[in-house]
Subunit: 315 residues, 2 copies
């Protein structure tokens, strides 16, 4: 039986991580509101530590460890934001982090993780190589696995972004997030639908990585393998735990084209002067593709992160 997070778990997670995270600002743009015909409130997790909401979940996972577990350390495999988030959250709390990274991960990410003092084990780029290497690391060290999304403490941590958002903007009628592995979306839905059931929780997902959409609509978990969307943070598939929460609590999932993602990303860069990664642009892309659906509302969008390779922009 899976343990599902309730709002109280997310409130406790927030109390736990409160002093270690940035309380990120909410920004608005008159010109984007005018283009979309609705009022959008952007929760800027691109300004979060390590440049992504992932720091919330990693931090909650670290601070939820027992003293014995803290002594031994944590482990994960990731080539992206979760690796940096776990490495930094561990370092800040004197916990050893073992990170399995594919050899072909971007140099800048390898450096960031190493810079936070994590122990990196490199492996081949395939999922099976990553998983088997991680198993070896864990059996050798006894470190506790911190999954990037399919884990109770991680989901509770991610849910704290929506807890802050509804306090910062009490008049919201809808909250939107992107969905990849589903940690942010399931955390958001767990908190919001219990405390503010009138607020709709809607996710945007790249049509090229539409496992959450198809799982949600069909009623059973359908993973995708190796999708190629530009939204590199959303190439993962739902896990059993995130799926069961999303199935029960989320109002809708909307798929968007790659072109809309790039258009929405560019709109935010140009009009708001902030840097977001493609994954962050997916909810706005859903609004751009469905203007009548979202007309004249107060919509909160969680901008998931801002880590992009400035040498490889899509515009």
């Amino acid at each position: 039986m899976l343990k599902l997070p309730c709002a109280q778990d997310i409130i406790e997670a927030h109390n736990r991580i409160n002093t270690q995270i940035h309380k990120t600002p909410v920004l608005t743009s008159e010109s984007i509101n005018s283009i979309c015909g609705t009022n959008i409130f952007f929760k800027c997790e691109n300004f979060q530590k390590v440049g992504a909401f992932k720091y919330r979940g990693a931090c909650n996972a670290i601070l939820s460890l027992s003293d014995a577990e803290k002594q031994i350390g944590v482990a994960t495999h990731s080539s992206g934001n979760h690796a940096a988030a776990l490495a930094l959250a561990a370092a800040k709390n004197g916990v050893k982090a073992h990170i399995v990274m594919p050899e072909n991960a971007p140099e800048i990410k390898k450096k960031a993780v190493a810079g936070y003092g994590a122990e990196i084990t490199f492996c081949e780029g395939t999922l099976s190589a990553r998983e088997s290497t991680l198993e070896q690391v864990i059996s050798k060290t006894g470190a506790k696995l911190i999954h990037p999304y399919n884990q109770f403490e991680v989901i509770c941590g991610q849910g704290t972004a929506s807890l802050e958002l509804v306090k910062q903007v009490p008049q919201l009628s809808t909250i939107m997030t992107p969905v990849g592995g589903g940690g942010l979306l399931s955390g958001t839905a767990s908190y919001t639908k219990e405390i503010h059931p009138h607020i709709k929780v809607i996710a945007g997902e790249p049509a090229m990585a539409d496992d959450a959409y198809r799982s949600f609509k069909s009623g059973h978990l359908i993973p995708v393998s190796n999708p190629q969307t530009i939204a590199d943070g959303l190439r993962t598939s739902l896990g059993e735990l995130t799926y069961s929460i999303i199935r029960d609590k989320v109002d809708d999932i909307i798929c968007v084209s790659e072109k809309s993602i790039i258009d929405a990303m560019r709109l935010i860069w140009e009009r708001m002067k902030i840097i977001i990664e493609p994954s962050s642009a997916v909810p706005l892309a859903a609004i751009l593709e469905n203007p009548t659906l979202f007309k004249d509302q107060n919509i909160g969008i969680i901008l998931s992160g801002g880590n992009v390779d400035l040498g490889k922009l899509p515009f």
Copy 2:
């Protein structure tokens, strides 16, 4: 005899424009502080309306018009942020704006100015063509010239950014701005050195457009023509009014290389996840080039703007 702005003029300008501008946030970055060995507080005028501090001066100029002048309208020549700022500030207050723009101005800037409802007159790209075309427009329409920097009301408006900054961060020991025509720098010095004389006011300037540095050091106005720095907002030279304020009130001007400007710009993009134009990066470039000079202080930097062509990034 030139009329020089005093702090009270800038306080009055702030009262005048207060409801029409964004009170921009001050952001900090742990990692940039650690790289620079000092504490930097970034005043984000890249989030100001039209994406630049120029909106403050344009807005104050418009709101300082007599009723008769408002009926007739305003005029300027500019290919950049001042054109957009004056066009929008005029439109918001029901004033007609006549903007002379070079034919080779970027399409996106032409569109922005036209979108704000300004009357555009195109001319050749040379300064003399721009000035003579503007004279014709003014003699035909009777519109009042609003200079991009060398004008009392404009300087008072630009000074309001530092008025906000010292309230947002009371512990500053230094305020830094870039210097091009000198509107922002002279406004900042006029306010700060009168109200907080212990705060140093220091400008950064591209070595490739070092007219302010040479004028400041030599004691007489030395304009440059057609400098080629990447900091496109700083290619203009000081005017008589901005020069006389800067000569008397500014503590120092530091020249920086093009490479440092690009390095500083990239640092802010990558670490702070905000978009700034190259001109905004010049003060941080001065700190990067002179770390011992700025060590262990509380430094406010006014980020002047965020308007960049995303298709032409220097990295």
